[in-house]
């Protein structure tokens, strides 16, 4: 999927401001941003539920603006709300959506069986949709999204409101789908979770794309120094002075008997720092690097502005 200078205006209000990004088959693309950043609007445009003011998006080169009818068979969209019909069994629900995608006869029946097997809903096939638990409804939503075997999945906050177990199981399903070659665009507020499953992320705020790329790449671009935590048995004042004067050290904060050191340098330079401290007779009891995670990156990149 390629998103090309996508813009959506509602009168004077710019919900999405000329954003561009892309991902490939097998990628899990995390779409991150505060509430009201324009994530859902973007996803709705990509799912052909809304039209952009300007710009376009293409799946395998086919425009979602000009050919929405053609694109729908390649896209599976799971909105942030769990929509089910009353008075309809799980199997009937999936059967209905299989029909709406034009599947018929044996192909339809096989598709229903296949997604029920994949999402482990088989035992609930004769249960009314509106009586399912939240976790099971989410599985049903994923099954519906997969019923026509789309190439691209667009999942808007799929894990919100799920208990830890359901969340881990859901994550496993997504990883399996990625292995099967589906391109997945996923938005979530749970950044630790996204960082575990996404290989690419984009951060959006007030409709603007702030950064996009692999997490490691963003981390490198954002901050060239790493943070090292050094624990001492005592003599913390002396250690503080010594570390401050060491080449490559940008800043030092004292936290109890620990120093939090912002340090520019590779692993060899870190080893040299440790050796220097030990040879200087300082009682080092802990020396650990702290990597920036997605949450740190998110907090650094965004300004907390909402529109």
């Amino acid at each position: 999927m390629e998103v090309d200078r996508l813009e959506r205006r509602f009168g004077d209000f710019v919900a999405v401001d000329r954003i561009s990004f892309g991902f490939r088959a097998g990628d899990i693309f995390g779409f991150v941003g505060p509430n009201g950043a324009g994530k859902t609007t973007t996803m709705r445009i990509l799912a052909t539920l809304d039209a952009p003011t300007t710009g376009d998006a293409r799946v395998n080169g086919v425009s979602v603006v000009d050919y929405p009818d053609e694109i729908r068979s390649s896209i599976g969209f799971m909105p942030d709300h769990l929509s089910v019909y009353t008075n309809l069994y799980v199997e009937e629900y999936l059967d209905f959506f299989a029909r709406t995608y034009g599947l018929s006869g044996r192909r339809r029946r096989e598709a229903v069986q296949s997604v029920m097997d994949f999402t482990e809903l088989h035992s609930l096939r004769r249960k009314m949709c509106d009586t399912l638990s939240k976790g099971m409804r989410q599985r049903l939503g994923l099954a519906r999204t997969l019923i026509h075997d789309p190439k691209v999945l667009i999942l808007d906050e799929p894990a919100s409101g799920l208990d830890p177990r359901a969340r881990i199981e859901f994550r496993a399903l997504l990883e399996e789908l990625s292995r099967r070659g589906k391109g997945i665009l996923i938005s979530s507020h749970i950044l630790t979770e996204l960082s575990e499953i996404c290989n690419v992320v984009a951060i959006i705020e007030r409709g603007k794309l702030l950064t996009c790329g692999a997490i490691e790449e963003i981390r490198k671009n954002l901050r060239r120094h790493s943070v090292i935590r050094i624990g001492f048995l005592d003599r913390i004042e002396e250690a503080h002075k010594k570390v401050m004067l060491y080449p490559g050290v940008q800043a030092v904060r004292v936290a109890g008997k620990e120093l939090e050191v912002e340090f520019v340098g590779d692993e060899a330079a870190r080893a040299a720092l440790l050796k220097n401290l030990v040879q200087g007779g300082l009682p080092v009891v802990q020396f650990a690097g702290h990597e920036q995670n997605l949450e740190d990156i998110f907090m650094e990149v965004t300004k907390g502005q909402v529109q």
């Binding site: 909105p79 929509s83 008075n87 209905f96 959506f97």
Partner: protein, 487 residues
């Protein structure tokens, strides 16, 4: 169940499953939901209970001149029409509202199902549920036939009328259900539009009530009137259908084509009726003429588009190559207005000639100032209501709409004026929402100088206020409408 039976049952299931692939998916889903749920079962049970009760009560009474079967049929007809006109649209409406409440419409809009197929699905569901209920009442209808006094043709015609009306009302229920419920103005618009639509639809209800009362097949005009009613029915259905599509389709293109097609059908019907001689009190012409007001003003609201997608622009360019006539059927600047203007001229001409040709002479004169006022209110009120029902993408900007609507209003007044001068009477249809207050006002009219002066002053004041408020819009609208199709 033994092996042979199980095999046969599996074959039947396999056959039914394959056959269902040919049906509308919404029909299958809604039928399943109706059969899984309680509402349909309750409506069906109430209908059967009423029928049984009515048959038992009538069974104890003595037969009148028409025969006991005739009495049973009339009661069954009334009960069934009540359920079909209210119960069935309620079921459809609650299903659609549930879909909106649960936001499942969005899920449908990203499948291969088009807004048109969704509405067709709801209509097929209404038809399916109607047939299920009709099968329940069929034994009672057969019972009335066996008792004597009613023939099969009358029963079939009556059921046909109920069926068509039930489908039309279900269609309206679908449209009303997809209008956002949070906005009070939208709710009001639905009510206004429903009132206008009822004015048109009531002429369809009326014959359905006549069916058990008169043997309409003895009248020579019956086939023509039925044809006119069918045309009106289809036109009205076209309007509802298009509004429904507009509401359901999220990023859908402007599809004003069906409404324009409905207008063409309507013009054909008017032409047919207008040239039909000796109309009884010109009622058919006037009823259909009245409907034309509703349809044409409705169409005026969906002629223009505020923004076009790349694909629509390409289609527009293609249409322009085909010539001005074809391009009238496509959205784009001014073409809708040109269509309204042309349709207005044709309607005015055909209706005038029809009124002259129909020899509908009576001594009762029309009180023109009151009619002018009434039409003015209906004209702009229903136009605004319909416009309100449509999403922004489909609305014609007020600037363009107002002027052309005013011009069209003048076109409508010409045949009315001719009707007055030739002495045609107004149809006395008590069910028509529009004609009823007009008749009431007409009865107040005593041709005194005071009446003329007060009416004229009222009209001039109203026109003055409207013109002062909207003068630039009118001028611009008239100019755009007058220029005709543009690129």
């Amino acid at each position: 169940m033994n092996g042979a039976n199980a095999g046969r049952w599996a074959a039947v299931e396999e056959f039914a499953d394959r056959a269902s692939d040919r049906l509308n998916a919404i029909l299958i889903r809604e039928t399943r939901r109706a059969l899984n749920g309680k509402l349909f079962a309750i409506v069906f049970s109430v209908l059967l209970a009423i029928c049984v009760g009515a048959c038992l009560i009538i069974g104890w009474s003595e037969a009148g001149e028409e025969g006991l079967g005739w009495m049973v049929f009339r009661v069954l007809f009334l009960c069934f029409s009540g359920v079909a006109f209210m119960g069935l649209p309620s079921i459809i409406s609650s299903m659609v509202q549930g879909e909106i409440r649960e936001k499942t419409f969005e899920l449908l809009c990203i499948t291969n199902v088009t807004p048109a197929r969704i509405i067709w699905g709801e209509l097929w569901t209404a038809a399916g549920l109607f047939l299920l209920m009709a099968s329940g009442i069929a034994p009672f209808m057969a019972f009335s036939y066996l008792l004597g006094g009613v023939d099969v043709r009358t029963i079939a015609t009556g059921m046909g009328f109920i069926f068509l009306m039930s489908i039309l009302l279900s269609l309206f229920a679908t449209v009303a259900a997809v209008v956002p419920g949070r906005e009070i103005a939208s709710k009001l618009a639905v009510v206004l539009f429903a009132l206008g639509a009822w004015g048109a639809a009531s002429s369809l209800v009326m014959p359905s009530y006549w069916v058990p009362l008169v043997d309409m097949w003895d009248e020579p005009q019956t086939p023509w009137i039925l044809l006119a009613l069918l045309g009106t029915y289809l036109s009205l259905g076209g309007i509802f259908f298009t509004v429904g599509m507009a509401r359901i389709g999220f990023a859908a293109a402007n599809r004003s084509g069906p409404i324009r097609l409905a207008v063409l059908v309507h013009l054909a019907v008017i032409s047919t009726i207008a040239w039909f001689g000796e109309l009884p009190q010109a009622w058919a012409t006037l009823i259909i003429y009245q409907h034309s007001v509703l349809f044409l003003l409705g169409m005026a609201c969906v002629g223009e588009e505020e923004e076009l997608t790349c694909r629509q622009s390409r289609k527009g360019r293609l249409a322009r190559r085909l010539g001005p006539i074809w391009s009238l059927f496509l959205p784009g600047a001014s073409r809708g207005m040109a269509f309204v203007t042309l349709a207005g001229i044709i309607t005015a001409g055909v209706t005038t000639l029809g009124l002259l040709n129909a020899h509908a002479i009576d001594t009762e004169w029309l009180a023109w100032p009151w009619i002018t006022l009434a039409y003015l209110v209906v004209y702009f009120g229903a136009s605004s209501a319909l416009c309100r029902l449509l999403p922004a993408r489909w609305r014609t900007p007020l600037l363009r709409r107002a002027g052309v609507l005013l011009v069209f209003f003048v076109f409508l007044m010409i045949p009315l004026f001719v009707a007055v001068t030739t002495g045609a009477s107004l149809a006395r249809n008590p069910l028509l929402t529009v004609s009823h207050p007009i008749l009431f006002l007409a009865n107040l009219w005593d041709y005194s100088v005071q009446d003329w002066v007060s009416a004229t002053l009222l009209l001039v004041t109203l026109a003055g206020v409207v013109f002062v408020l909207r003068l630039p819009s009118f001028i611009r609208g008239i100019r755009v409408g007058w220029k005709g199709p543009t690129s």
